[in-house]
C-alpha cells in the first residue's frame, strides 16, 4: 500500500474516534453547533480524502452522511437521539469499510444502503433526494479546427484576486494558433488612475481544435471578475473552402461593436484604406483596428491552409510498383552518371566535363524528385494504431489514450511499409506490459487513463519516431536478474541502469512473465531491433521505473539513395552516411602514437573516442603517414572513424548485400562506384553500439 493510502487510513481512524466523541457529546448537548460543525468536518475530510486516495466506497457512503449533517448545520434537521444513533451506526459502518480495505475482506453492502435510507428519512421532503454527482466522462469525437474571437475585459479589481492576466493569455496561446491585441485606450490620465487597477483589455483570435470548453476553462476563475465574450467566427467543419467567408475589415469592427454601421458607411464612402480612415476620424481606436486586422489575417491564413489541403485532393493515383520502378531507374541513372563523370574527368575534355556536370545536376534533381514522390506522411500509419490501442486496451480492461504528433512527417513508402510491424509490436508491448490497470495506476497516484504518445519529427536526413508511455517503466533489477538467468550477462556485470534496460533488445530476451495472447507471439524486442536495423535505422530506449518508457526509432528518410561520404581504407572503398558526419580532421602518426591511453581525440575541448577502421577490418597494408578522422554523430554520441583518405560526397545508391551477408556486422549495404568498384556502406549506429 502506498504512503498516501497509509496516511489516509491512519487519519481516518483518528477522525472516526473523534467523530464518536463528538457525537456522544452532541447527544448530551443537542444545541452545540460547534459540535455539529466538528462532525460535519470529520465526515467531510473522510469523504474528500477517501475519494482522493481511491477509497471510493467510503467516500460514497460518507457523502450521504455528510449531506445530512450539512442540513443539520443549516438548521433544517434538528439534532435528535435518532439522528445521533443513526450517525453512530454510520460511523461504525465507515470503520468496517476501512477495516475491510486494510484486511481485504468484504463488507455487507446492504447494511450501508439501510443506513443511508434511514438517514434520508430524517431529511424533510422538500429537501429530499440526495444529489448525485454523476460525472460522466464521455469522450466526444475530436472537434474540427474552429477559430474564436475572444474579448477579455477584466474588471478593474482583477489583480486584487491574485490573478495574473498575462498567464491567462499565455494559456490561451497554448491552445492553438493565437493572436492577441491589447487595448490600451481605457487607461486614464495619471491622476485619475488607481495604481492597483487594471485598465487594459484584450482581443484574441484563436484557432484551435480543443473545443469551446477548453477556451472557457482558461477563464474559469475570472468569469465573475471580467467580461468575457467568446464567439465562433470560423468553424471549418461548416464550410468547404470555396464557400468560406472572407470577412472585410469593416464587418469585423462592426461585429466587435467597435463602430456603428452608420460610421462604417460613411468611412467606406471615402477613398483611403478603411482602417486608416476609421482611426483618423477617431471612429475606432488604433487597437480596435489592429485587433480586427489580426482577426482578418488569421482567417485568411486558415482559409489558405484549407485551400492547400483542398488542392492536394487533385492528385494522381499511381500504382506503387511504378514508383518503385522509377526509383530503381533513377538509381541506375545515378550509377551511370557517376561513371560518366569519372570518365569525363579522366579524359579532360572541357566540353565533355561540362556535359557531365549538367547530367550530374539533372540527375540529382531527378533523384530528389523521384524520392519525394515516394514519400508518404506517417500520419496514416499512426491513425491505424488508434484502433489497435482501443481494442487491445478494451480486451485487457485498461484505459489507454493514444496521442499522436508529427503525423505530417514524411518517410519513404518502403520505410513506412516495413516500419509498421515493429511499431505494432512496440505499441502492443506498451499496452500489454507497460500501462497498468486503472486500479494500479490510481494506487500509484497516476491518472487512471494511461497515455501512449506516438510522435514523429525530422532530424537531418533522419526521422525520429518516439513511442512514449506513462506506464510502469522497466525495472532494471528484474531485467538484470533475467539477463543473468538467460546467460546474457555475467552475474557480476557492472552495468548502468540504461544499459540494463537496453538488454531487452538482446536476442532471446522477453520480459513478459506470462505470455499473453497479445504480445507473446514468440517475437521479442530483439526482432524489433533487427527489423529497425534492416531499415538502416537504430533504436534507443529510456525508461524510468514507475514513470514510463520512451523508445526512439531513428530511421533514414529513404532506403534507396542517400548522400554519402566516400572514403578509402587500404584498397577498399567505404561510404559513411553524410547525414551523420559532423566534420573531418587529420590524424598524424605522432598524434596517434602519443595518445597511449586509448584512442581519444580532442576536438576543440571535447573528448571524442575514435575507431581505427583498418584495425577493425583487419586491413594490413601500410597506412599513410597522415590519416583522416571522420567525426560522426548519432543519438547524441560522437565517434571518430579513422580512414586513409576522404574522397568526398557521393550519391549512394544503396544495394543490399543479400541474404548471404545478413549477419555482416556494421556493414549495412553496398554501392557501385563510377568505375564499377563495389564500396561498402558502414552502419554507423551498429559500430557505435
Amino acid at each position: 500500500m502506498d504512503a498516501h493510502k497509509q496516511a489516509f487510513i491512519e487519519e481516518a481512524y483518528e477522525l472516526l474516534a473523534e467523530l464518536e466523541r463528538s457525537l456522544l457529546e452532541l447527544e448530551d448537548n443537542p444545541g452545540d453547533m460547534a459540535m455539529v460543525g466538528q462532525v460535519f468536518r470529520a465526515m467531510h475530510t473522510i469523504k474528500g480524502s477517501g475519494a482522493m486516495f481511491g477509497f471510493e466506497d467510503i467516500a460514497a457512503f460518507t457523502h450521504n452522511v455528510e449531506n445530512v449533517f450539512d442540513q443539520v448545520r443549516s438548521g433544517t434537521i434538528p439534532v435528535t437521539r435518532e439522528l445521533v444513533n443513526l450517525t453512530l451506526t454510520a460511523r461504525d459502518h465507515i470503520r468496517e469499510l476501512l477495516d475491510a480495505s486494510v484486511s481485504g475482506k468484504t463488507v455487507n453492502e446492504s447494511r450501508g444502503v439501510d443506513i443511508v435510507l434511514a438517514l434520508n428519512r430524517l431529511v424533510p421532503l422538500e429537501n429530499g433526494g440526495i444529489p448525485q454527482g454523476g460525472k460522466g466522462e464521455e469522450k466526444k469525437p475530436a472537434p474540427d479546427m474552429v477559430t474564436y474571437r475572444i474579448r477579455f475585459k477584466p474588471h478593474q479589481d482583477l489583480l486584487a484576486h491574485g490573478t495574473n492576466p498575462v498567464l491567462l493569455l499565455s494559456e490561451l496561446r497554448d491552445l492553438g494558433d493565437c493572436a492577441v491585441t491589447a487595448h490600451t485606450e481605457n487607461i486614464p490620465v495619471l491622476e485619475d488612475m488607481d495604481p492597483e487597477g487594471l485598465y487594459i483589455f484584450w482581443d484574441a483570435v484563436l484557432t484551435t481544435d480543443k473545443g469551446l470548453n477548453a477556451v472557457r476553462d482558461v477563464f474559469i476563475f475570472v468569469e465573475d471578475d471580467a467580461d468575457i465574450t467568446i464567439e465562433t467566427i470560423l468553424d471549418e467543419d461548416d464550410f468547404t473552402s470555396a464557400e468560406m467567408p472572407r470577412p472585410k475589415l469593416g464587418e469585423i469592427l462592426l461585429k466587435h461593436g467597435d463602430i456603428s454601421g452608420e460610421a462604417l458607411h460613411q468611412a467606406l464612402g471615402s477613398q483611403k484604406r478603411i482602417g486608416e480612415i476609421l482611426v483618423e476620424e477617431k471612429i475606432a481606436s488604433r487597437a480596435s483596428v489592429t485587433a480586427a486586422l489580426t482577426e482578418q489575417n488569421q482567417i485568411r491564413k486558415r482559409l489558405e491552409q484549407r485551400g492547400e489541403s483542398a488542392a492536394q485532393i487533385s492528385s494522381v493515383r499511381v500504382p506503387s510498383e511504378k514508383l518503385d520502378h522509377l526509383v530503381d531507374l533513377v538509381g541506375e541513372l545515378v550509377t551511370v552518371q557517376a561513371r560518366l563523370s569519372q570518365k569525363a574527368a579522366k579524359q579532360g575534355d572541357p566540353d565533355l566535363v561540362a556535359i557531365a556536370e549538367d547530367v550530374e545536376s539533372l540527375t540529382s534533381g531527378l533523384r530528389d524528385n523521384a524520392m519525394s514522390i515516394r514519400m508518404l506522411q506517417i500520419g496514416t500509419t499512426f491513425a491505424t494504431f488508434k484502433r489497435l490501442v482501443r481494442d487491445l486496451s478494451g480486451e485487457l480492461g485498461k484505459r489507454i489514450e493514444l496521442t499522436t504528433a508529427g503525423g505530417e512527417t514524411e518517410l519513404d513508402k518502403t520505410v513506412i511499409d516495413q516500419l509498421k510491424d515493429p511499431l505494432v509490436h512496440i505499441i502492443r508491448n506498451a499496452v500489454d506490459h507497460a500501462i497498468e490497470k486503472p486500479e494500479e495506476r490510481l494506487a500509484a497516484g497516476k491518472d487512471a487513463t494511461g497515455t501512449i504518445q506516438l510522435s514523429a519529427e525530422h532530424s537531418g536526413a533522419h526521422v525520429l519516431i518516439r513511442i512514449r508511455d506513462d506506464g510502469k517503466g522497466l525495472d532494471p533489477q528484474v531485467i538484470r536478474k533475467k539477463a543473468v538467468e538467460k546467460g546474457l550477462i555475467p552475474a557480476d556485470a557492472d552495468l548502468e541502469e540504461n544499459e540494463i534496460q537496453n538488454l531487452i533488445f538482446a536476442p532471446g530476451f522477453s520480459t513478459a512473465a506470462a505470455i499473453t495472447d497479445l504480445s507473446g507471439r514468440g517475437v521479442g524486442m530483439d526482432v524489433v531491433k533487427k527489423s529497425i536495423e534492416n531499415l538502416r535505422g537504430a533504436i534507443d530506449l529510456v525508461s524510468r521505473k514507475g514513470e514510463g518508457t520512451t523508445i526512439t526509432l531513428k530511421l533514414p528518410l529513404t532506403l534507396a539513395i542517400i548522400d554519402g561520404l566516400l572514403v578509402q581504407i587500404g584498397e577498399g572503398f567505404f561510404v559513411l552516411p553524410l547525414s551523420s558526419v559532423e566534420e573531418c580532421v587529420e590524424l598524424t602518426e605522432s598524434q596517434r602514437k602519443s595518445s597511449k591511453n586509448g584512442n581519444i581525440l580532442n576536438i576543440r575541448g571535447d573528448i571524442v573516442p575514435y575507431v581505427r577502421l583498418r584495425d577493425e577490418y583487419d586491413i594490413r597494408n601500410k597506412p599513410p603517414a597522415l590519416e583522416h578522422v571522420v567525426i560522426m554523430e548519432t543519438f547524441g554520441k560522437r565517434v571518430g572513424f579513422v580512414v586513409d583518405r576522404v574522397i568526398g560526397g557521393h550519391q549512394t545508391v544503396i544495394k543490399n548485400l543479400g541474404g548471404a551477408f545478413r549477419d555482416a556486422k556494421d556493414i549495412s549495404g553496398a554501392t557501385i562506384l563510377g568505375d564499377g568498384t563495389v564500396a561498402l556502406i558502414i552502419d554507423v549506429n551498429k559500430i557505435m553500439e
Binding site: T45, G48, S49, L159, G445
Partner: protein
Amino acid sequence: MAKKILTVDDSASMRQMVTFTLKGAGYDVVEAVDGRDALSKIKGADIGMVITDLNMPNMDGIELIRQIRALPGFRFIPIILLTTESQDNKKKEGKEAGATGWIVKPFKPEQLVAVVKKVFA
C-alpha cells in the same frame, strides 16, 4: 530558487498529498493546519501562493483569504481554494473574499499542478 507555496488543511493526508504533488512539480511547500496557523506562517516566509481548504477548525478558508488579502504585501498573492462539489456556493463566497481560483475535491495530482501553473507563473 523554487517558488514557495503554503498549503493549509486540517487533514494530514490531504496536506501530505498536496505537498508531495507540488514538490514533485518542483515547488517548495510550507504546511499549515488551519487558518490561524497559516497566518502565523505566511509572514516573512516568502510565500508566493496559498492553497487552502475551506472547512477547518479555528479559522476557515474564507476568513483566511480575507485576512491574507488585508495583509500588506499579500494584496496580489494567488490563493487557491479547495472545495467539494457540494459547496458550490462557497466558490462564490471564496471569490468575493479574494480567492484567485479553486479546485474541486476529489482531484487528481495533475489537476492540482495544472491549476497551480494556471495562476502561478
